[in-house]
């Protein structure tokens, strides 16, 4: 015979009574509260799963409930009557070795998922989306940008020359994109260039002015086309939302402290992702430059000048701040130039 002390709540009022549950080896149960006694069987008891050392609840037929803090006694009863099967989560929780192993598993799985799983899934997803849709998603971007950017001051002839270069680059790229080159006065953006998922590439007058040779501009344009054909815009959007979702699922809420704390790993992962994108776009540019017999050193020269300009002016944000360190990129380009 096993005995459990606790309290009984009838379920119709908040009355609380001292109670005692006696469980006999044949499975019969006697519940005694004050002077009343009730006969039950073990199968009548609906025992809540164990949760640390919090109070255990045993639901009884008719809606009353027996609450006890004596978890070990309850477990002993369940064990004696072979009803321990559903406590597997508590068993996971109660083994320190397992808990520590799972901590490492969580950290490793979390890091692996964020650093490799998210980019791989985003790549699959981005290429599964039809190009028309991906172009449509960003269709308003240029209009929004145009609210802050002024029209280009480059001569029509200069624009036509550069557009001719761009058409050659676009012709070498995979089909299915509406490539288009537009020029704008950079204003606060300074010397800059970026690509939209549709295939539109925007270049600022300042960047054209900064270049000493057309080969340098060709390199930048090929780099931007690389962003388009690798679908970096869409992949970036997918990666960011996946990351936010994963963090939401794991931390379980968006309370002030956890969102504050999630900011740092998110920023680190995002910067790793954008480095990878820049690397891919650089590779695309180098491949094109090689085919056209242009040395990657021209690209390196422009990057060098951009970096120097950044040292003077703070205006360039989008192009440089998300890019890998310029030295690192120039080093790679020089290496590739030597390989030729």
């Amino acid at each position: 015979m096993q005995e459990i002390e606790g309290r009984l709540y009838d379920g119709t009022t908040a009355r609380s009574r001292d109670a005692r549950l006696r469980v006999y080896s044949d499975g019969s149960v006697r519940l005694r509260a004050e002077s009343q006694e009730r006969a039950l069987t073990i199968s009548d008891l609906e025992v809540s799963a164990r949760l640390g050392n919090t109070a255990r609840r045993i639901g009884l037929p008719g809606g009353s409930e027996f609450e006890t803090l004596d978890n070990d006694a309850v477990d002993a009863v369940l064990e004696a009557h072979a009803q321990t099967g559903r406590n597997w989560v508590h068993r996971l929780e109660s083994r320190l070795g397992l808990v520590l192993a799972s901590s490492f598993l969580v950290l490793a799985a979390g890091a692996t998922f964020v650093l490799w799983g998210v980019p791989a899934l985003a790549r699959e997803a981005a290429f599964a989306v039809p190009q028309e849709l991906s172009a449509h998603i960003a269709s308003g971007t240029l209009e929004v940008l145009d609210r802050t950017l002024d029209a280009s001051e480059l001569s029509a002839q200069r624009q036509a020359e550069l557009k001719a270069h761009f058409r050659e680059i676009a012709a070498a790229a995979p089909r299915g994109y509406d490539f288009e080159l537009v020029f704008r006065a950079g204003g606060g953006l300074g010397a800059n260039a970026f690509a939209l998922p549709s295939g539109s590439v925007l270049m600022t007058d300042e960047l054209v002015g900064l270049a000493e040779r057309d080969e340098e501009i060709v390199a930048v344009l090929a780099h931007e086309v690389g962003h388009v054909v690798h679908r970096h815009g869409l992949r970036h959007a997918i990666q960011s939302s996946m990351l936010a979702m994963a963090i939401l699922l794991v931390t379980g809420d968006l309370s002030s402290t956890s969102s504050f704390v999630a900011a740092l790993p998110t920023a680190l992962a995002e910067s790793k992702f954008s480095r990878e994108f820049e690397g891919e776009a650089d590779d695309h540019a180098v491949a094109y430059l090689r085919e056209s017999g242009i040395s990657p050193m021209h690209f390196a020269a422009l990057l060098q000048r951009l970096a120097e300009e950044r040292g003077e002016a703070e205006g360039i944000v989008t192009f440089l701040s998300t890019h890998p360190s310029t030295d690192e990129r120039i080093e790679r380009l020089e290496e590739q130039a030597r390989l030729r």
């Binding site: 309290r7 379920g11 119709t12 640390g52 919090t54 799985a109 379980g252 002030s256 704390v261």
Partner: protein, 343 residues
């Protein structure tokens, strides 16, 4: 307390103070949390409703009042259903431009219009699935009331450049308390909007003082140390302001909450709360998140240690709702599915 007793005694009844107590430990909750996170990752998120229920059960069961603990009775499947519904509608919203560009704004308005309903739903789910001494809480409100509290008044707050914002906060608190019940006993909100205005007035004064302090420090520190000094002052200012509002609004809400003849009380000190927020954030950051469970337990213990229930007469007389009057409090919502709304 003395004042309470004399006041109550003058009305011919005896008032007892029952303190809330949080018995959870960081050690226990760490195990629960880490297993939850592991299983959530391994199942690609499908386990997360079960994780939520286990966490909810732990915090409810660790909270004790007058010799009994609370219980959280939610069904994970109901939470899973609710999450799928939310995910489905957001997915639908994202995909509508493919069908027609005009459909998305329409659907957006429809989703926004569903927000008050979703909030009511979330509150009834939570209340219905929380019990003490085997009696469930309940929550039920009409759509119009939820709309006023969560869209109407906040919008008025924005349109009046914040002048009505404290009033909107007051109305939200009133909405939550006034529509809740424990068994058949209704909660009632007795606080005033003036008290909420005082809190935000203090916040404004504090913010202005912080700005003045930072400006003075920058001026005194010069170009070298000025920025560092400013940053070093801003962080405590931010946590201080955040904790002040959190503490005062929580206190006002509970102090103004009546349950039948009984009354709740909360006297969380703002300074202590600011310290908890700040040290928690720092600990989580330095431990790469592993101290999240510790920080949650610490916060719960701190808040509940300052909460109590002043009872007039017996706590044994609360009665559970009987089948018939359940629907009036929206409990039928409580069973089907939950929509998570962070409140």
């Amino acid at each position: 307390m003395t004042q309470e007793t004399t006041q109550a005694a003058s009305r011919g009844s005896i008032r007892d103070e029952h303190g809330f107590e949080f018995r959870g430990t960081a050690d226990e909750y760490f195990r629960i949390w880490i297993v939850n996170v592991c299983l959530t990752i391994v199942t690609l998120g499908i386990y997360s409703p079960w994780a939520k229920v286990r966490t909810g059960r732990y915090f409810a069961a660790s909270t004790r009042l007058a010799g009994a603990s609370f219980s959280y009775l939610a069904d994970p499947i109901a939470i899973l259903k609710g999450r799928l519904i939310v995910l489905g509608s957001l997915g639908l919203y994202a995909l509508t431009p493919l069908v027609s560009p005009f459909l998305q704004p329409v659907l957006g308005v429809a989703l926004a219009a569903a927000v008050p309903w979703a909030i009511t739903r979330s509150l009834s789910f939570k209340a219905h699935n929380t019990a003490w001494r085997n009696i469930r809480f309940a929550f039920g409100a009409r759509y119009g009331e939820a709309f006023a509290a969560y869209i109407g008044f906040p919008l008025a707050g924005v349109l009046t450049l914040g002048v009505l914002y404290p009033y909107a906060v007051f109305r939200q608190r009133q909405f939550i308390v006034d529509h809740a019940a424990f068994g058949t006993t209704r909660f009632a909100f007795a606080s005033t909007s003036a008290a909420f205005y005082r809190v935000f007035g203090m916040l404004l004064t504090f913010a202005l003082a912080c700005v003045a302090l930072v400006a003075a420090l920058v001026a005194a520190g010069g170009e070298e140390t000025g920025p560092a000094l400013a940053l070093g002052t801003l962080a405590p200012c931010y946590f201080g302001a955040f904790a002040y509002v959190a503490a005062r609004i929580t206190n006002l809400t509970y102090e103004g909450t009546k349950l039948g003849e009984h009354r709740l009380s909360s006297r969380v000190p703002a300074l202590g709360l600011a310290w908890i927020y700040m040290s928690n954030a720092l600990a989580i950051l330095l431990s790469l998140g592993l101290l999240i469970p510790w920080s949650h337990v610490r916060l719960a213990r701190f808040r509940l240690a300052h909460m109590s229930l002043f009872s007039t007469g017996s706590l044994e007389e609360f009665a559970a709702t009987q089948g018939g009057d359940v629907s009036s409090l929206g409990a039928e919502f409580g069973e089907a599915f939950d929509i998570d709304v962070g409140l």
